[in-house]
Subunit: 354 residues, 2 copies
């Protein structure tokens, strides 16, 4: 029996306790400073208040000040924070993890350096760990279409565990895979991370479908706006493949669950799509953002990060000005409060996808 | 001003009158024997009873017995029947069209020959026209994500006009394209048709998402089944690319609007998805079929056609037994009344998409 110690007790990390327990393993959930009530609830009743579900038998909950106790002798460690918390989690890991630790990362996002080169969150996380410890550790990431609550109630869920070392990814797979949690493994680490981040950007645009109907006062009209969403989804797929090319990875990774599959699930709803809907209905992004106080919008944030990096990459000639027209428009909308005005004529053309 | 004479007055053909009229052109709609009430309604009130919308000013409606009058001097002709009516429409065209006619086809489906080689509907349609006339005519097809009613109310819609002659496709584009009807043109005729057909097959599977919840009595549960649908959608994308490879066409055509985009829109609902839902909930396909009398199920029919062709192609070694696991399962479900039992382990692997 293995024990996985998780920093962050959000819904995704907690949902992973379900397949883990199914295989006879155990999770220790350590709350961040934002998770105090979640941990209190699990300690008192076993119920994760956001998931509204009981955590599996044997799952232990710790407040942040109990982290050292939880992490004592930990071999398998997970960062369960979202993309905003990665640097903070790295700082904690620097103090908490021992040599020869296997680390799992679940945040979906990205960073960039001054040249616009992308930095991948699992690497950012590990960069905080002192080198002499880090070089004895491994890092793996989970990507793919996985709504946390669905996994927690054992709906069929298909994901990829990506690591630069396939044996390590396989080891994690053996710990988590069940007959409803389908896990593939891959060494396409960077491409997987690129898809995991950019699909969040494109899913923001899915909100425009209904937002544009709202703007017309036709939210309940017989004819909705799926043709619009379908064209955006198609352009998103093409651009996710191109993002893989930008980082010199195999564009085929964007096909299948890491890109197309995850973009599908993320486009079906959630906070990011709700914000996109407000913008589609005519608000500036700043106005929409103000309407959703305290709500984390990973997709919108990713649009700004990727859009800023894209400006640098274009200036350096790595990307052409005509590349990524959808991402560029999303960046104008989210990063510069411009109205939605889809540049249809710039889509699909000249890329061999017609 | 051009006049497009259409055989078949279903919703898709009729919706195309909207952008056509926008550009100052005119449509003559000739009803089939199944369209009698539609034509009566348009003649009396201008309203298409299924669309529940008025056809554009100037659109003329003809009963089938008035077809010769409508087709007199027609230069631009469209087959507006669905995939079940193509052979019938071909027989009519054999009598109705003159030399130098430009023909447009909108049905999405496919046929196969005794070796399992695919035959494309626009070619099947034209095969009925006497050769000395046919060789002076052109044929073009519309593919891409286009819900008819959305186009009819001028929602943004993005499609591809595919022809073996790009100039012909461009000519049709110039007739139909507006600021809401976005048209690209392509000579990837066979690949486009392959996507248009197979996306209907895969969209049937999208119904399983909710059907499986029905089976659990959890149709209103907090956690739905998008993870399941996302994984299927991803495998569908991979298989649509592989179908293009089978016919020695560019698999990239399946990315973008012809494959991914159209599969998205078709997965969002409609008769095909409703039938899939009944099957996902536990009925055999025959039982589900019987529950929907008189309803055309193009997707389910396409599954059987493609599934039968696939058996022949596999026997001949054109396809490997491990190729197309999702299509094969759909064929077992629809063609052989087997229960839904998704072969997850056969997905994604070994194709470079992980």
């Amino acid at each position: 029996m293995a024990t996985v110690v998780v920093l962050g007790s959000g819904i995704m990390a907690t949902a992973l306790a379900t397949p883990l327990a199914e295989n006879g393993h155990k999770m220790k959930l350590v709350g961040t400073h934002l998770d105090r009530e979640i941990i209190d609830s699990i300690k008192a009743t076993g119920i994760h208040p956001t998931l509204e579900l009981k955590v599996p038998e044997g799952t232990e909950a710790y407040q942040l000040e109990e982290a050292e106790e939880a992490f004592k002798d930990a071999e398998y460690v997970m960062s369960g924070v979202n993309s905003f918390g990665v640097e903070w989690a790295g700082e904690q890991f620097a103090k908490l993890i021992k040599p020869n630790t296997h680390v799992m990362s679940i945040a979906k996002g990205i960073r960039y350096d001054e040249d616009g080169n992308f930095l991948f969150l699992p690497d950012v996380l590990m960069s905080y760990v002192p080198e002499e410890i880090r070089k004895t550790c491994s890092v793996t990431a989970i990507v793919g279409p996985s709504i946390a609550g669905e996994l927690a109630v054992k709906r069929h869920t298909s994901v990829i565990f990506g690591s630069r070392d396939l044996e390590i990814a396989n080891m994690w797979r053996d710990m988590f895979a069940t007959d409803y949690y389908h896990v593939w493994t891959s060494t396409e680490f960077e491409a997987l991370e690129m898809c995991a981040c950019t699909k969040n950007c494109y899913a923001f645009g899915a909100g425009f479908m209904n937002g544009l109907l709202d703007a017309l006062g036709e939210a309940d009209a017989k004819y909705v706006n799926f043709n619009y969403g379908a064209a955006l989804f198609a352009q998103a797929t093409i651009e996710m493949m191109q993002w893989c090319e930008v980082i010199k990875a195999d564009p085929k990774v964007a096909i299948g669950i890491p890109g197309v599959g995850d973009c599908f699930v993320t486009s079906m709803g959630g906070r990011n799509v709700r914000a996109g809907r407000l913008v589609g209905a005519g608000m500036t992004f700043s106005e929409a953002r103000a309407k959703m106080p305290g709500v984390t919008l990973e997709g919108a944030t990713a649009i700004v990060v990727v859009g800023e990096a894209l400006e640098k990459l274009t200036a350096r000639g790595v990307c052409k000005p005509e590349d990524f027209p959808l991402l560029r428009h999303l960046y104008q909308v989210v990063g510069h409060d411009q109205p939605v005005n889809m540049p249809w004529d710039t889509f699909f053309e000249g890329k061999g996808y017609i």
